[in-house]
């Protein structure tokens, strides 16, 4: 792995239009901002605030060979492998979720070497994005040392601390070409508020050369300006805003909907016996088949959607 030169990183930022301007577009238009072979960071974690609609659009657009990174990867990783959108995923943990066991699709692709799962510790992933966000080439840390994870982590180095003489691990910066992040609300310029868990999204937005936000709804800039302390991702880092209700389905979006558990069970069932055929059947039915995002949600089903919404918004009920 190579760390991009600092001046290149800065010049890419300089070249962007960082002005306070309307960036609202469609999923299809936003997908065109991602090129084959790009490095792509995915916001959220496991089955939470996954920018599923953007992933759905990238799969439908037939993007190829993206180098994907995320804190923890769930079903979306399976689908990125199975669609050919990515053959290389960098993360700390990869499976649908503890209750569903080890992902059969991830196993099928990695064990036959059709795809690569590059493993780093969770904190290493976080500090790699943070280094990227800070404009420094690495961050020092005190885990992964002595482990097999370190032996296989491409680009990690140990050093003797010049102050204390201790052994420290240095993890290289991640500056993804594009970050895709789903939020509960933002304005047309990309000022985003995030409810609940922010995961690694704020560092990720700062680290990336381009940010695509999908949002449950677009609010006015006036509303953002009334509480600027609540803005978690600033407009100057954002290149595209796409309004997509239920944009994380069947994963959760804090305070709005929980994971669509029956649908997650259906996915596990479809991919358990024959992971390859199962994943393709799932892609056909839910990714390539639907006319649009609303049709995708219809195929998942109104009952599931209402149930997930009832459970999700329930946290504000007491």
């Amino acid at each position: 792995m190579t760390i991009p030169s600092y001046l290149d990183l800065r010049s890419k930022t300089r070249a962007r239009d960082r002005s306070l301007r309307d960036k609202v577009m469609s999923l299809e238009e936003a997908a065109a901002l991602v090129a084959d072979g790009d490095s792509l960071a995915i916001g959220g974690c496991t089955a939470s605030r996954t920018p599923m609609a953007m992933i759905w659009a990238l799969i439908r657009a037939g993007r190829r060979d993206l180098e994907v990174s995320r804190s923890i990867v769930s079903t979306e990783g399976d689908l990125l492998y199975a669609s050919g959108v990515s053959r290389h995923i960098i993360t700390s943990w990869f499976s649908q979720g503890i209750v569903w066991g080890v992902s059969k699709v991830m196993r099928a692709y990695t064990e036959t070497k059709r795809a690569r799962f590059e493993e780093w510790s969770h904190m290493a992933m976080g500090l790699r994005y943070r280094a990227g966000a800070m404009g420094v080439p690495f961050m020092p840390m005190r885990s992964m040392l002595g482990s097999g994870v370190l032996d296989r982590a491409e680009g990690a180095k140990t050093m003797e601390c010049p102050f204390t003489g201790e052994t420290l691990l240095l993890v290289p910066a991640l500056n993804p070409e594009v970050a895709i992040i789903h939020v509960q609300r933002c304005d047309a310029y990309g000022n985003a508020r995030i409810d609940g868990l922010t995961f690694m999204d704020i560092d990720m937005a700062m680290a990336a050369n381009k940010v695509i936000l999908t949002t449950e709804r677009i609010v006015s800039n006036e509303q953002i300006r009334r509480h600027p302390d609540q803005t978690k991702i600033g407009f100057f880092t954002v290149d595209a805003v796409v309004e997509v209700p239920f944009g994380s389905a069947p994963h959760e979006c804090y305070g709005l909907y929980e994971p669509f558990y029956s649908h997650m069970d259906l996915y596990a069932q479809m991919t358990s016996k024959d992971p390859d055929a199962g994943a393709q059947a799932y892609l056909d039915r839910f990714y390539h088949g639907p006319k649009n995002w609303a049709d995708y949600l219809s195929r998942i089903g109104m009952a599931e959607l209402l149930d997930a919404q009832r459970r999700g918004s329930g946290i504000y009920d007491d």
């Binding site: 209750v99 799962f117 969770h122 005190r142 885990s143 097999g148 994870v149 420290l168 609940g196």
Partner: protein, 265 residues
């Protein structure tokens, strides 16, 4: 399994599953006032059980970025990253910040499950078989490596010969590496394995060699049982303690927490 035997021979005592036994025995190791970094599954259940019994002042941390939550009965999260984890939390932070609390030294106990463990408490959750050509690609470390590198560890897992091996196929989360002071030499001066809780007993690590040893056996489990289910030579002292079986109260709390038996089946 020995748990089955416990069920049969102690017919007056409460009936419980292996997972419930793990959760109860692990919960008892947690002390009031501690800060515990817990994984999902048995560690989560055990931490909540401790909170609801002898350790009301236990602070739970989840790697999703949650500090001091009180997870609701019947609404267990599918991972440590969904909103159910954040229920009645004191503070939500980013993943990176909550993991940095480990590095800063705010965490007393790291608590997680294990797929494969060896004599020196090294854990594998990455590969079964050779890492280059694995028989099974497992999900990986998540926060496991960070927790095991930076906190005193309790691991809860099933006691089976294939899981308790001489040397793990791959060190995902470090225990005492090759024993002795090799952990500190690798750059990990803090933390390390404290206890391994299984459905057969409670294990610790010798002070010098750092090799696994038996501290206590669960009711109905013999020294031969635990040796037969371990893939390396595991010393059992003659005067080994016997744990007290889970009580009706402890089991009732667990069953209320996990009515669908997501984690305790």
């Amino acid at each position: 399994m020995t748990t089955e035997r416990a069920r049969v021979s102690l017919s007056v005592a409460p009936v419980y599953t292996g997972s419930e036994l793990l959760a109860v025995m692990s919960a008892r190791l947690l002390k009031d006032g501690q800060t515990v970094f817990a994984g999902v599954g048995i560690p989560l259940l055990a931490a909540i059980l401790a909170q609801k019994t002898h350790a009301p002042g236990l602070t739970i941390l989840f790697e999703g970025g949650v500090i001091g939550p009180f997870v609701e009965a019947g609404k267990l999260p599918p991972s440590t990253n969904e909103q159910r984890c954040s229920r009645r939390a004191n503070m939500l932070v980013s993943i990176t910040e909550v993991l940095l609390l480990l590095q800063r030294g705010y965490v007393d106990v790291g608590f997680m499950g294990g797929a494969q463990i060896d004599r020196f408490g090294n854990l594998n959750s990455s590969f079964i078989g050779d890492a280059e050509n694995p028989k099974i690609r497992l999900p990986g470390t998540g926060g496991g490596n960070d927790i095991a590198s930076l906190a005193d560890m309790i691991v809860a897992m099933k006691h089976e010969k294939r899981r308790f091996v001489e040397k793990v196929d791959f060190i995902t989360s470090p225990g005492f590496l090759d024993g002795g002071d090799t952990r500190a030499q690798a750059g990990l001066p803090a933390g390390g394995m404290f206890r391994v809780v299984t459905d057969l007993g409670i294990l610790g690590f010798e002070a010098e060699s750092r090799a696994m040893t038996v501290l206590a056996l669960h009711p109905g489990v013999s020294a031969d049982d635990i040796k037969a289910n371990t893939g390396f030579d595991l010393p059992v002292p003659d005067d080994v303690e016997v744990t007290q079986a889970p009580t009706m109260d402890e089991l009732a709390i667990l069953r209320e927490l996990d009515p669908e038996r997501l984690y305790t089946a």
